[in-house]
């Protein structure tokens, strides 16, 4: 049986995934190489949320799930450093080094929003628990 507690739990899990993506973005602000060691400046990642059909009560209340993690597609920041070992060798960007273009302000505000959403869902869980306990008081 799907209850309000399950729906709130799905939201907690989704917000935590979001916070993980944000901390990954902030940690990798200056990362020049990707996981395979190739020269590729880090691009910001963010999760896409979707209504979860599997967590659904009979009256239509539904939970949330992470559909996929998107990688943002923005132009990297270019800095002129001709003596840097990873500088671009040919083309019109010769002598420039490509740095990640991560907007710190946006990441921090998103982190705030994820935290508040997490706390709000915990608040809802407290209310649901309270309802259950009050019901038991009828018997006592």
């Amino acid at each position: 049986m799907i209850t309000a507690l399950d729906i709130s739990t799905s939201a907690l899990v989704a917000q935590r995934v979001r916070l993980n993506a944000i901390s990954s973005n902030i940690a990798n602000m200056s990362t020049l190489r990707n996981e395979n060691g190739e020269m590729e400046p880090y691009k910001a990642r963010y999760p896409i949320f979707k209504v979860d059909d599997k967590i659904r009560t009979e009256h239509g209340a539904a939970g949330v799930k992470v559909e996929r993690i998107e990688t943002e597609d923005v132009e990297p920041q270019y800095k002129y450093q001709p003596n840097h070992p990873l500088a671009i060798k040919e083309g019109d960007k010769k002598g420039y080094v490509a740095y990640p273009n991560i907007n710190m302000t946006r990441e921090f505000v998103d982190a705030l929003e994820a935290t508040r959403a997490y706390e709000a869902n915990i608040g809802v869980m407290e209310v649901s628990k309270n309802l259950g306990q009050q019901t038991l008081r009828i018997l006592a």
């Binding site: 507690l5 709130s8 739990t9 899990v13 935590r16 306990q133 038991l136 006592a140």
Partner: protein, 137 residues
């Protein structure tokens, strides 16, 4: 005498519910304790198996009141409850995907609610018996 007083009420069924809730609590608490253990697979007790066995035990008990034709063996209620108790040991292992600590905490909360509900109902059953014995409301 004692078996007949309680067999007619819901006390044996509630007793099984409480036992199951306590066994499940231990399994779920073990999950949280082993949260950081490498290679640990999350475990749970099957609520569905417990509920279907309990349903069978209740139906078997209700059949006791029907007439037994000669040659038909009557099912002992103790045997049915024994089968219900076996589901307390049916540990299932999850495959490790999509299991988070929030899920464990939620399952613990729901389990706790079922446990407290069964205890409250059992308490009011005994209070009914008490009222009947003392003849005072």
């Amino acid at each position: 005498m004692f078996p007949t007083i309680f067999d007619q009420s819901t006390v044996p069924v509630l007793e099984q519910m409480i036992g199951f809730a306590q066994a499940r609590h231990e399994v779920l608490a073990g999950n949280i304790a082993n949260f950081d253990t490498p290679g640990y697979k999350v475990r749970d007790l099957s609520v569905d198996a417990f509920q279907s066995r309990l349903q069978e035990a209740i139906e078997a008990r209700n059949e006791q009141h029907m007439e037994v034709s000669p040659g038909l063996l009557k099912k002992e209620p103790v045997q049915e409850m024994q089968k219900v108790r076996e589901t307390f040991k049916n540990i299932e292992f999850h495959d490790g995907s999509d299991i988070s600590i929030e899920h464990q905490v939620t399952e613990l909360t729901k389990n706790q609610f079922m446990h407290n509900l069964a205890i409250s109902i059992m308490t009011s059953q005994f209070q009914l018996l008490q009222t009947a014995i003392s003849e005072r409301v």
